[in-house]
Subunit: 418 residues, 2 copies
DNA sequence: AAAGTAAATGAATCAGTAA
DNA sequence: GTTACTGATTCATTTACTT
């Protein structure tokens, strides 16, 4: 039963920006058809924890019905609700269903049934880095988002991204033609020069999205367990709706979708069975806070200070690159008296003395076992070389193997099992 | 029927390194049980191209059997073959099933049935960059690999990767303890200094793998249309088998799996119904080739030339960064007479003259419409400034808006529709 | 000068798509 | 179905540079 605490909802038609308490099956059944331009669904995840499948006789005949038995309840719940979602969607609307690896195959089958396989558009992979655990196997680092549209004529705003660093875009900017054999070749003028072909917009966005998981300390976080990054929602809303379109979230939870929709100038309707969730969502909408974390703004790569080129000097020895500290480039896998060895590689623009000083300063409070500086080029160091602190060891990358030099020191291998 | 052209196969037991022609259903039924340590399956992908679902009455009752009708043939084929795979797997063995977004949900249900949901381990996402096209929607850029094991006690060798650039690695290297309130805090010695925790091995490998797509020109390529990169197979084999273990590929195609297995010192058995495929696989095994490209060795980022800091000088105008050419930082989205405008931003270590010279040289043979240099800092350019080539325009980033300056030039917008 | 390294260029491809 | 056409990617080759 719909138990809406929203006055407008009781009169069947809700306004363009609202949060409604109740079961979306009931609420949406009362709405007029074809009002939503974009539906985002992020329901409680399906886990089979307490639902071990019974032991099977593996030689018996294959039966499809068996495959469904354990999923029937879950499937029916969403089939019913996706049906009403389909009904309220405009002809050009899209639906995104957020799920994880335990449910994606079931959801996919239901969506195929409701929307038709021909309206399946994408399986989006949201990938993120997260804390590792001791689990045996690969660290799960993605969730799946299925995208269906109501028809083949759907709203879609292509987002263009940068070319791969290894792409030669000047070649892309050349005209092509067919040669005598019908083969496609780059066109050249009478002087043998390639002929330009104007500008390009970049690479269309793909279906694998690397978006940082919400930082547990971020202000944006409001304490809802499955809260999604606002960046993820913003991307979906930008792709599949236009300003003033209506975004519907039938399981709105803490209201991230609605906040993103509001910020992008879309109308929105959120539904949740929990009164707490609805109140939380409404308070976020009244005072939206978007995380301004460095990570989201400048991208993960901006943290990279020890780049590949620098680290190449260490290729002979095993180490862990340090990306977050401007003074330290790497920590070796070997150690001295159980204490880590910190390394900095001399930059082109700095002297060995400056390099050693930066490393020394960065090592403050780190309880380092040793400090190593890798000298990468010759310089006029006459005056300064004596001033290098005695607890810093300087290795010359140009004269002999760093690996050999380090082996000659009495350094212990790390203890096993760590 | 098994029509093996391999003498050993006819005697039921094949040797430890072999390629057999025939249907894996027949071949594997003849084998002894429990001989395979790792099974990799990469069958022809399931496409519903010629199988449009009939129009449905969307208001009728939900029926599970309908969902399966269109997939039944495909599902039964693999159910039968996965059963025999299961039978030949050792108790500690793993099976990897490679498929794409059109089949992953069906395969998942079958594998749940054969192995049990409790033995589902991972959904691996293989992501890659590839050519784009004019498709409306997101560019498909991943394939799915499902991993199941025969039991909960399975072979697994964790692979460690580098920490994310944003990881606070020096904190990881500190010992932790519980404080009076039972909260986990970083341990400090009597002087308040943090105590080191030795070295770490890095982050356990996750389930999203960015591995370059096999290039059309790669020497590794043998002309098989769906050939997979050896690196992908090497990773799977390293993770889930040990040296001398046996790797089975029931749909071996051109034999990439077998080549990777051989290179890693594993035994292998390949099966394919096509005689051509078997012969191709055998010839690759006799003379294995693996690409050692710069991209694989140094990573995509090693191509990067113009970093964020440099490109920030162009924030007012729209452009495409150029990463592959050391002399050019960007190509503007605007053009002159249909020819591209090439830009280089002055580095801290170079003069305007040097900057212009590098750009001019790099522009050779590029049919540029104009060459722009962005001056970033003052210098003693008295003598050199006159020597700057006349076809290079110098903009001063410090004096006034670059965007405004460029707008004042008579530059055409790119033609629409490109 | 010769050899070896690094950078720039070109070619081939389409578990491509759209009409 | 069949045909026509697309364009980013990556590796191999060629050219440039360094020692």
């Amino acid at each position: 039963m719909a138990s809406s605490r929203n006055l407008q909802a009781k009169t069947c038609q809700v306004p363009d920006t609202t949060v409604v308490e109740g079961d979306c099956l009931d609420i949406l059944s009362e709405q007029r058809a074809h009002f939503a331009d974009l539906v985002y669904i992020d329901p409680p995840f399906f886990t089979q924890k307490h639902h071990k499948l019974k032991t099977k006789d593996r030689s018996r005949t294959f039966s499809f019905s068996d495959l469904w038995d354990s999923h029937e309840e879950y499937a029916r719940f969403f089939f019913d609700r996706l049906q009403v979602c389909w009904q309220v969607m405009r002809p050009t609307a899209s639906l995104y269903f957020h799920c994880d690896r335990n449910a994606v195959h079931i959801v996919r089958m239901i969506l195929d049934e409701v929307f038709g396989n021909e309206n399946f558009r994408s399986e989006i992979i949201w990938t993120y880095r997260r804390w590792s655990n001791s689990r045996r196997g690969l660290l799960p680092a993605h969730q799946n988002i299925l995208c269906y549209t109501k028809s083949s004529d759907f709203t879609f705003n292509t987002i263009y991204t940068e070319y791969s660093p290894s792409t030669n875009i000047d070649q892309i900017l050349q005209q092509r033609e067919r040669d005598a054999d019908g083969k496609s070749v780059y066109k050249r003028d009478s002087h043998g020069q390639p002929i330009a072909n104007g500008s390009k917009r970049g690479v269309p966005l793909g279906d694998v999205w690397d978006i940082p998981y919400l930082n547990p300390k971020a202000r944006e976080r409001v304490g809802y367990p499955t809260q999604k990054p606002i960046l993820l929602l913003e991307r979906i809303i930008s792709l599949s709706s236009n300003p003033c379109d209506l975004v519907l979230d039938p399981f709105c939870g803490s209201g991230t979708t609605l906040v993103a929709a509001k910020m992008l100038g879309r109308k929105y309707m959120g539904i949740d069975t929990s009164r707490d969730a609805c109140e939380l969502a409404q308070s976020r909408l009244d005072n939206p806070i978007k995380s301004e974390s460095n990570l989201l703004q400048s991208g993960r790569e901006s943290y990279r200070n020890a780049d590949e080129e620098i680290l190449r000097f260490l290729h002979e020895i095993s180490f862990a690159p340090v990306q977050r500290n401007r003074g330290i480039d790497a920590i070796l896998d070997r150690e001295i008296d159980g204490k880590p060895i910190l390394v900095r590689i001399q930059r082109q623009s700095e002297t060995v003395y400056e390099c050693a000083t930066k490393l020394l300063k960065a090592s403050n409070g780190k309880d380092a076992g040793a400090l190593f500086v890798i000298k990468t080029h010759d310089e006029n160091t006459l005056g300064f070389f004596d001033a290098i602190p005695s607890n810093v060891t300087v290795f010359d990358s140009t004269s002999y193997s760093i690996g050999e030099a380090i082996k000659q020191l009495n350094i212990h291998e790390p203890l096993a099992g760590r």
